[in-house]
């Protein structure tokens, strides 16, 4: 039973290691989907928003964690 729990934890940990990074990424994809599919924004503009925002989310997540560790 403990193996099943550990496998479940491992699977969740693969995608939810940083809750804010996960939430921000999911919100971003939802927004880009809304822009491209619902509002018919030029797909390439949507793609650029997706790419650049992912880079921003990544940098923010790394800087936030570094700051958290340096203050604790």
């Amino acid at each position: 039973m403990s193996i099943i729990v550990e496998v479940a934890k491992e699977l969740l940990g693969m995608f939810l290691a940083d809750a804010r990074l996960t939430t921000a990424t999911l919100v971003l994809v939802t927004i880009v989907a809304g822009l491209v599919v619902a509002l018919h924004l030029e797909p390439l503009v949507g793609g650029s928003v997706l790419l650049l925002s992912c880079l921003v989310i990544l940098v923010e997540a790394a800087v936030r964690e570094a700051k958290r560790r340096s203050t604790s």
Binding site: M14, T25, P43, L55, A61, A62, V63, E65
Partner: protein, 251 residues
Amino acid sequence: MDVAAWSVAAPAIGSAFLASLVEVVEAFTIVLAVGTLRGWRPAALGTVAALAVLGMLIVLLGPVLDRVPLHLLQLVIGVLLLLFGMGWLRKAILRAAGTIPLHDEDAIFASESAQLAEAAGQRRTSLDWIAGLTAFKAVLLEGLEVVFIVIAVGAGRGLLWPAAFGALAACLAILTIGIIVHRPLAKVPENTLKFGVGVMLSAFGVFWTGEGLGIDWPGQDIALVVFAALFLGVGIATASALRRPTVEVAR
């Protein structure tokens, strides 16, 4: 295979190979601890059982993936790759910056050996069972990530077999080196590999998510290389900025 096909096949094979290399090194350290302390029978049995479970997982998942519409598959896998890849990359940046410690295979080997020795003191009768279970868990948990990466980088474009070949090549490489050196593979530049894999998985994530949303990337598959270069550049710059000590100006 033409240049455009190689531009997406090579990153898929390369990502599967490098990611598997990292995961297999981690699993190998624990299996080696089990084998050294309790003999190779429980270590081999645990490993084979875990590989069988992982194989079953692939056999069960394969036909399911074939039934999912391509755009939906690309979107779901793309989002999962973004979450997984950016998570890896974030950790690799923090390790490269010295914010969190590097993975130490020698320390993991010592810790696993100590745990098994402690178990030996407490429960003599079922020791081989515990040793086998330890190997099983290590291979299963690390293997799950390999299975996900192989499926994720391979399924969107029918590259499952090349990606699986990349993973298998990594397993064989580590097994061969492990048999020769017969000690934890502490010299493998694990964080550099993780950095590279995080970059590739994040690039694949943006690419598949975009394709899933109906975005036609300029240059098609070549766009992957551009995304990877951007993630790499931003990752290196962030790690470098975080590494820099804060200078306080005295007035």
